[in-house]
């Protein structure tokens, strides 16, 4: 309750609506996404009080989570990767003239998913943080290790591509001055490289410029359906929604689980769609415009997107690229993310959690009332949108460090992002590794110092041992699953 009093100042409320509004625009436009939008606007918040800044930035994130659905349903173009699954049934509904119904269902589902995840964060995050106060360097490294292993074991991309993308992120993080010894690392004599690579530049380039290049190659032309959205449609749709409670619960659980472990919103939405299709009595009709097929992925992606903030707040380990950017923001504002945050910065943490409740409510209101406006943005031709987005990205990249060199890096990262996306190299682990690289490395070094170079320190007590064991299980899960399937097959033969 204390958090609400922190957030409910007129200044913060205005920032909240501005954030949600910008977030929806960012979610609607191809090429700008949640991670990107937050990265570009982050430098503008350096002068604000941290609580106001995080209120605005996290609201951009909520807005983007909601906004992605608008383009999926009306234009069959997912504004965000996590709304791809929403197109399967959302667009057919729009073609049948039921766009209003689909939009209402998706917004309501998004709100529901996010709300459950926030309630979970409210109650579980402090417990996790309290528990994590006992952590020493080996435990922290084990948690980092678990994060990265679950990427490799659970990602849908080829494991070695995930490995390469992630390790490139670590290598980029190592560039610059070594914090422990003060030595220069991997700078090859270039003074430009002394500062190291800022992850914000990488995010803006990989996601922003890379996406523009992809959209350009495909020669995008928008042709959308129009949506009528009035109170009558909203109320009628709301009457239908309670029928899908089973799907709602399953999708929420999938979303929360994949959000906390860094699976992220995109796989969560696909998985929820798949499971809803298998369990629903109307499963066979999925893909032709079933309301349930819109509800399932939207609940899952919003609950995943929201619960990705739990490990960020409680452990200092973000569950998604956007959470990683927010974490970078905390560091810049001088806050050390992790368990101590709950002890030392009570106002900040509870303010943020309160803003999650209010921000999602604000998002719901804004999207329900402003759909025609946001749909109109998409009618702007791509040949205007594309250069404007490039300009916004360039400005965003420059303001991070006031360095021209960063704009060039942004372009280079853009080309890398384009090639990686086309070849199925995942970008999320690269960004996470770039953000967490220094912390993971220092946790590793401190552990090694404690044990005098003995790797067995990661199994030295039951806590760190079980986290490390879990990490190895996650890493080799695809192999283990295959072996189990094989063993079952042999048993069946006998």
């Amino acid at each position: 309750m204390h958090g609400f009093s922190v957030v409910l100042t007129p200044y913060n409320l205005v920032l909240m609506f501005v954030g949600v509004f910008l977030g929806i625009i960012v979610g609607v436009l191809p090429g700008l996404g949640g991670a990107n939008g937050v990265a570009i606007l982050l430098p503008l918040t350096f002068s604000m009080p941290p609580t106001s800044a995080i209120v605005m930035l996290s609201c951009i994130y909520w807005g983007a989570l909601f906004g992605g659905a608008i383009t999926s349903i009306l234009f069959n173009i997912p504004g965000e990767p996590w709304s791809v699954a929403t197109t399967f049934d959302g667009y057919p509904m729009a073609q049948q003239g039921k766009a209003g119904e689909a939009l209402t269902a998706s917004f309501t589902a998004s709100f529901f998913g996010a709300l459950v995840a926030i309630i979970m964060i409210t109650f579980i995050a402090p417990v996790v943080a309290n528990f994590a106060l006992e952590f020493g360097p080996p435990e922290f490294f084990a948690v980092y290790f678990l994060t990265f292993c679950s990427f490799i074991g659970m990602g849908k991309e080829p494991p070695f591509k995930i490995l390469v993308a992630m390790m490139l992120g670590f290598a980029l993080a190592a560039v610059g001055i070594d914090i422990v010894t003060g030595q220069l690392r991997l700078t090859f004599g270039f003074t430009e490289l002394l500062r190291g690579f800022n992850f914000l530049i990488a995010v803006i380039g990989l996601f922003g410029i890379g996406e523009i290049l992809l959209s350009m190659e495909e020669g995008l032309s928008f042709s959308g359906k129009t949506a009528k959205l009035n109170m009558k449609i909203v109320l009628e749709t709301w009457k239908k929604l309670p029928r899908f409670w089973g799907t709602a619960i399953r999708s929420t659980i999938i979303g929360c689980w994949l959000g906390i472990t860094p699976g992220g919103a995109t796989p969560a939405s696909f998985m929820a769609y798949g499971i809803a299709k298998r369990t629903s009595p109307n499963g066979a009709k999925f893909g032709t415009g079933e309301l349930e097929g819109v509800v399932a992925p939207e609940i899952a992606n919003n609950s995943a997107g929201t619960s990705a903030l739990l490990p960020m707040l409680a452990l200092g380990i973000p569950g998604s690229p956007t959470a990683a950017v927010l974490l970078g923001g905390l560091l810049i504002w001088g806050l050390q993310p992790g368990p101590l945050l709950f002890v030392e910065q009570k106002d900040f943490v509870w303010g943020l959690i309160a803003s999650m409740y209010l921000g999602n409510l604000a998002s719901l209101i804004l999207v329900l009332t402003c759909v025609p406006f946001f749909a109109a943005i998409l009618k702007i031709p791509f040949s205007i949108i594309a250069p404007v987005i490039v300009v916004i990205c360039a400005v965003g990249a420059f303001t991070v460090n006031n360095a021209m060199g960063d704009i060039w890096y942004m372009l280079i990262f853009g080309v890398i992002g384009y090639a990686f996306k086309k070849l199925d190299y995942p970008l999320a682990p690269l960004v996470l590794a770039l953000v967490l690289g220094d912390n993971a490395e220092s946790a590793f070094r401190q552990s090694m110092l404690i044990s005098q170079g003995d790797v067995r320190v990661f199994f030295s007590n039951s806590l760190v041992g079980s986290i490390t064991g879990l990490a190895l299980l996650a890493l080799f899960w695809p192999l283990i699953a295959r072996m189990i399937a094989k063993a079952k097959g042999e048993l069946a033969k006998q």
Binding site: M167, M216, S383, A386, G414, F420, K422
Partner: protein
């Protein structure tokens, strides 16, 4: 998204296979560079604990291992006629049509600053790729730059680069 790159055999372009192989070789080169540089820096156990190159050295090694695995996987991609395309030439030309002007744009920031360069970039992009009328393009380019200017220089007081030849000096910025 490998399916994005799939094309019919009638179109020609860069094959998926060669793109996979080239990227794997590039990441391998990056991995070797990281490992060698870290080794030179000291990747052993020093008197006061792990040396600066200790952690990055293994990162470099892992990049190399992953790259080799990806290279081998890339060899198995069908390369014959009708095989997957990474990008066909028309698509590549459209990509270049964004990338090259963007480089000119960034270079332009050094000369005339971000506001003026942005205006020209947006206008030129609209005229050349969107086939808009020149006056329309200039108006939109100018408005976007003006909004940026108001937002950064005046409201947020964040100074953006003005370039070597500052055309905006007449308004006092």
């Amino acid at each position: 998204m490998s399916e994005r790159g799939s094309g019919t055999s009638a179109e020609s372009g860069i094959s998926q296979r060669s793109a996979e192989l080239v990227v794997a070789l590039l990441t391998l080169a990056a991995g070797i560079t990281v490992a060698v540089a870290s080794y030179k820096l000291g990747a052993r156990w020093g008197s006061d604990g792990p040396q600066a190159g200790y952690f990055p050295f293994y990162i470099g090694l892992l990049i190399c291992i992953g790259s080799i695995a990806n290279f081998v996987a890339g060899l198995r991609v069908n390369a014959g006629a009708g095989g997957l395309l990474f990008v066909h030439w028309a698509g590549l030309r459209r990509v270049a049509a964004v990338l090259l002007p963007a480089m000119v744009y960034v270079a332009g920031i050094y000369l005339v600053g971000i506001y003026v360069s942005s205006m020209f970039y947006i206008a030129a992009f609209m005229v050349l790729l969107g086939k808009y009328r020149i006056w329309k393009s200039v108006v939109i380019g100018f408005s976007v730059s003006l909004v940026l200017f108001l937002m950064f220089e005046i409201w947020f007081q964040v100074l953006l680069p003005k370039g070597a030849y500052n055309i905006l000096s007449f308004v006092g910025h």
